[in-house]
């Protein structure tokens, strides 16, 4: 069981949360072409090791944040509100 430190509510069990996957994908322009769109929609880094991912405290405060987590040990290094996460707001 993961114990996730919600930046707004503190530590809570994983059953209160929902993971929305890779935090670092960027939606391409609508005319970017099929290959680029397929890449965005379906292709994932899927790393064995550290992974930055978006989580939402769906059964809690409803806020989104970015979690850095190890996909082997499941250790959570940090949980940062979207507003403070690096790389999220660059275009």
């Amino acid at each position: 069981m993961l114990r996730i430190e919600c930046p707004f509510c503190g530590p809570r069990p994983e059953t209160e949360f929902h993971c929305a996957g890779d935090a670092d994908r960027r939606r391409p322009q609508s005319d970017a072409g099929d290959a680029t769109w397929a890449d965005y929609l379906y292709v994932r880094a899927n790393p064995k090791g550290l992974h930055r991912e978006r989580w939402v405290h769906s059964a809690g405060c409803g806020q989104w944040f970015v979690v850095e987590r190890d996909t082997v040990s499941h250790a959570i290094l940090n949980a940062t509100p979207l507003a403070h996460a690096t790389g999220i707001h660059e275009e």
Partner: protein, 418 residues
């Protein structure tokens, strides 16, 4: 076909009895990797071993190695819940998985190895009127695809499962039965293919991890392993949850995500349940093994994981589902609990195709259902490696479908849990 030095039959048993059964030999050699092969398969699970066997038996390519990082069948082949079925919705998947089922029906004979395939039937339960209507739709689709399917109202389900709770939290509105579905001994499938492939000259190399590829001009030339370099122009990758990691060594990214899928067994009890039942609403399916244990499967932990261990919330949900439907099992204790890492695509259909690196083929995207697909997956990957063309059954299982949009969305259609 006679396979191995000692065939498994009554005569060899009787003859062995005269010498204290000391004539049995190892089922496959501990091969040392050689410097080059015609084809190399990465991954010594069911799919990899089946591919090697079909390369040797159907295509005459016997200079083949199977490289396994751990031991044969130690990954998802030894971790699944052994269910074999072909209750899919779309024609492409129905043809593919039903071919696999027909191969399983004669596999013990072909490989001279008892895989203990028990066609005890596979039920999927409907728990509300909408699921029941969808189930009728599925039953019709399966029949149109030439796959056996029976829709039963609730009374039919209760007749098949006398122990089923008459007043569960999720009421019974019907059930879809595939009579030809069932279970097999999962380890035996891996061992049977390993033994048969070895007898045809395939080198099975355990404790050998691939650490890199030799790629020149967009074509694979060989691979680097912890036990030396191997020159080879045809490489098949069948490593399930670790597909993305092997792809990374070749500079590729895949439309795959790796999730942990859990299973459990209870302590053994006397025979009391003679079919396989899946209850999507309860998040659980189970069957009883020949040893008497109940084997339960749960759902995926929906965040990336390479940890081959389960998680408590799903264990609780699966146990709750079992006890709700069969209260008499409430006092059984779990003996073991584990997880396998599943390679999940967005449409829950597999990929059996040559990658952007020429000569480097992947068989992946099996998600939570790779075990039942082993004979068909091996057939198609071996065909593609040997002939350079996709097997007709695997035409849908391409890489390009993600760009063209021709997905075979069994995630929605067959109600696969992920």
């Amino acid at each position: 076909m006679r396979i191995g030095s000692t065939p498994f039959n009554a005569w060899s048993l009787i003859r062995g009895g005269l010498s204290g059964q000391r004539h049995w030999q190892k089922q496959w050699r501990k091969a040392e990797p050689r410097g080059s092969y015609d084809a190399v398969i990465i991954g010594g699970g069911g799919h990899g071993l089946a591919t090697a066997y079909y390369l040797a038996s159907r295509h005459g390519i016997r200079n083949v190695a199977v490289l396994e990082k751990g031991w044969i069948g130690g990954g998802n082949t030894g971790r699944n819940t052994t269910v074999i079925r072909s209750n899919y919705f779309y024609p492409e998947s129905a043809a593919f998985y039903d071919y696999s089922l027909t191969q399983y029906e004669q596999l013990s004979r072909e490989l001279d190895y008892n895989i203990m395939f028990s066609q005890r039937g596979m039920w999927v339960l409907a728990h509300d009127p909408h699921q029941r209507d969808k189930m009728r739709h599925s039953a019709n689709a399966m029949r149109l695809n030439n796959v056996d399917a029976e829709f039963h109202e609730a009374e039919g389900v209760y007749a098949a499962m006398p122990g089923l709770n008459r007043n569960p939290r999720h009421p019974i509105w019907g059930g879809l039965l595939q009579v030809r579905g069932g279970t097999a001994r999962h380890d035996a499938v891996a061992w049977a293919y390993a033994r048969a492939a070895d007898a045809l000259g395939v080198d099975i190399v355990e404790q050998c991890e691939v650490t890199g590829f030799d790629i020149a001009a967009g074509r694979v030339r060989g691979l680097r392993t912890t036990r030396g370099d191997i020159a080879c122009g045809k490489v098949g990758v069948a490593v399930a949850g670790h597909s993305s990691e092997i792809a990374r060594l070749a500079g590729l990214k895949l439309p795959i995500q790796s999730y942990a899928l859990q299973a459990f067994v209870t302590e053994p009890v006397k025979p009391c349940f003679d079919t396989v039942v899946m209850s999507p609403a309860s998040g659980m399916y189970f069957s009883q093994t020949d040893k008497g244990e109940l084997v339960l499967g749960a759902g995926l932990d929906l965040y990336l994981s390479y940890a081959q261990r389960g998680n408590l919330p799903w264990m609780e949900r699966a146990a709750r589902g079992l006890v709700d439907l069969f209260p008499q099992f409430s006092r059984l204790r779990f003996l073991r609990q584990w997880a396998g890492i599943c390679d999940v695509t967005h449409d829950s259909s597999p990929i059996i195709d040559e990658s952007a690196v020429a000569g480097l083929h992947f068989s992946c995207g099996w998600g939570t259902g790779g075990f039942k697909a082993i004979p068909a997956g091996g057939t198609c990957l071996a065909h593609h490696l040997a002939t350079g063309k996709r097997h007709p059954l695997a035409d849908f299982a391409s890489f390009e479908r993600f760009a063209t949009g021709h997905l075979v969305d069994e995630a929605g259609a067959a109600g696969i849990a992920h």
